[in-house]
Symmetry: C2
Subunit: 341 residues, 2 copies
């Protein structure tokens, strides 16, 4: 055994300090400490929405290459994203974490470090938290409530053909970051002497491991009285998000491929892995970007006031289908996992 | 193969009809159909609370002896219970279900049958639903929002020493039902020819498999202007529930063992299994009963108006501990799982 190996990180079993003490230590002083419920209220009359995420180890994340603090941060974004997409502001959150025996106090603290950072960034105080045993690894369930002033909410227009389809940032990067990490994991599994080659791919790795949620668009829309007709958090690829909006409103959609922002690194990685960057954009996941549909009347405001929002297409009439238009004018029907029609 | 074995129940893979179609079929016509968020609002100014349950296969339920429709019904009660315990009324619900490959469309429909029945019984319409893959069996996450009129909520008194500790029904039965099912499962595993012996234990089996939530107490309190100072859903045994209330308010508590309602079948099963019924009451789980703390001033109203609520003790001063008083006057400090002090 070398000297380095003698310095083992401390691993405290959760039963040594007790679940309730651990929860109180994580939350700090708070009346909601050991409560099953999270209270909230508002001074004004508000419209509320509930967003709800369930993240399962082995499906939604792989702890071989995902640090727990990054996972904690991302988990919070996964439940806040749909709230911002509906033009609401998150107000409260409740988190349930299922832990199998291989997780210790220090693991939970690292996960909570990431969760706390995200809560701070999005100004959410007094989270609710419970820990519970799991037979099968780590499970994270999050529930968040977001509000919008009723006077704003009642002005929300119906989504109709002609509405602009806009997105808050580049797509496909998180998926290509994940593919890179999966490749390096496979290589490392076959030969542990191999050092992972991650240089030069900082952007796509950050997009997957340590993304941020661009909420400035919500603020700019609010201060310019732009009220989107609908929105979707793009967590399962662009195709799924567009199809959800169309299904809700009974419209079609046209998306112009050459209008979709795709980062250079996303193209490079796709080429290196012999994959199609468009697939990553349409059917990849976890881009942490938001799609808004915005009435055509706001076109000038969007162009002028929100330079970091891209207009990639528009809603079209019922029966026209949900289509991707390629630069040469070809029209391809969008497919998405889980949609069988 | 016998004729009987030829009649196999139909098992449709979920991908055959597609996740989105299945969700829409379960929900029926609803605008919330394929939405990530569940909207809600209220005409009056309200105080809201969020309740959140995470149920994991192998920890929280065993499908060997739990029919999926019963599981669905119970899962909904597990998230509504804490809302009634805080004297609020559930208004909305969102459900996420993680499914491994062994679950088919018919399984999800059976689970949803139970969920729908519970939603109907508690007058909750427009649930949110999403289905997702899981590597490891069935995972159910539920989030529910409950409301109380602000004018009632602001009258909620602080919990103080002297407050009555009341419960809505008998304790320990669900835990003994579970022990019975576990015993029969073990016997069946060792010899599949053995038929389970469940006769004569209908009450404890129903308490575990097919419980109901007694919400009449909430209604009676409301119509008699009784406002509890606090409450807990007794999902992890009485000791945990009492300790949570005491921790929140910095009080002690005295519980009188001979005041706790325990069903005859609970005692019988405990004796048959050589167990202590008191352990089932204090540290068993899933009783689906509610503990309320009620100001002493409401003693007469509680006795007169709510005959089906039992007063089992009272809060006591800070530093007096959380104690069980036996019929012979001995005082035993309550212990609960997860509490290490």
């Amino acid at each position: 055994m070398t000297d380095r190996q003698n310095v083992q990180p401390k691993r405290t079993p959760i039963e040594d300090i007790g679940k309730i003490n651990l929860i109180e230590r994580l939350l700090g002083d708070s009346i909601s400490t050991v409560s099953d419920v999270t209270p909230y209220t508002s001074e004004q009359e508000c419209h509320w929405i509930d967003s709800h995420s369930l993240l399962l180890e082995g499906i939604d994340f792989d702890l071989v290459y995902t640090p727990l603090k990054h996972l904690g941060y991302k988990a919070v974004l996964s439940v806040l994203g749909p709230i911002y997409a509906k033009n609401h502001t998150p107000e409260t959150i409740s988190i349930r974490i299922g832990l199998s025996k291989r997780f210790c106090v220090e693991d939970v603290e690292e996960l909570w470090f990431g969760i706390s950072a995200a809560l701070g960034d999005h100004k959410i105080s007094s989270p609710g938290l419970d820990l519970m045993p799991s037979l099968t690894g780590l499970t994270i369930s999050l529930s968040s409530q977001g509000k919008q002033k009723k006077e704003v909410f009642v002005q929300t227009p119906a989504a109709v053909a002609g509405d602009l389809i806009c997105i808050t940032g580049s797509l496909g990067a998180a998926y290509m970051g994940l593919q890179l990490l999966e490749r390096e994991k496979l290589l490392f599994t076959s030969n542990p002497q191999i050092q992972p080659k991650l240089d030069g791919y900082k952007f796509i790795l950050k997009s997957y491991l340590n993304p941020e949620l661009n909420t400035s668009v919500n603020e700019i829309m609010s201060s310019n009285s732009i009220i989107p007709s609908d929105g979707e958090f793009i967590s399962r690829g662009l195709a799924d998000a567009v199809k959800r909006v169309c299904r809700r409103w009974g419209t079609g959609a046209k998306i112009f491929l050459d209008k979709i922002p795709i980062a250079a690194q996303t193209f490079e990685m796709a080429e290196e892995l012999n994959m199609d960057a468009t697939t990553a954009v349409l059917n990849g996941g976890e881009d942490m970007q938001i799609l808004f549909t915005i009435p055509l009347a706001s076109y000038d405001s969007v162009k002028k006031e929100i330079p970091n929002m891209d207009i990639i297409g528009h809603l079209s009439g019922a029966g026209s289908g949900v289509n991707l238009i390629t630069p040469d004018g070809a029209q391809i029907e969008l497919k998405a996992q889980g949609w069988s029609e």
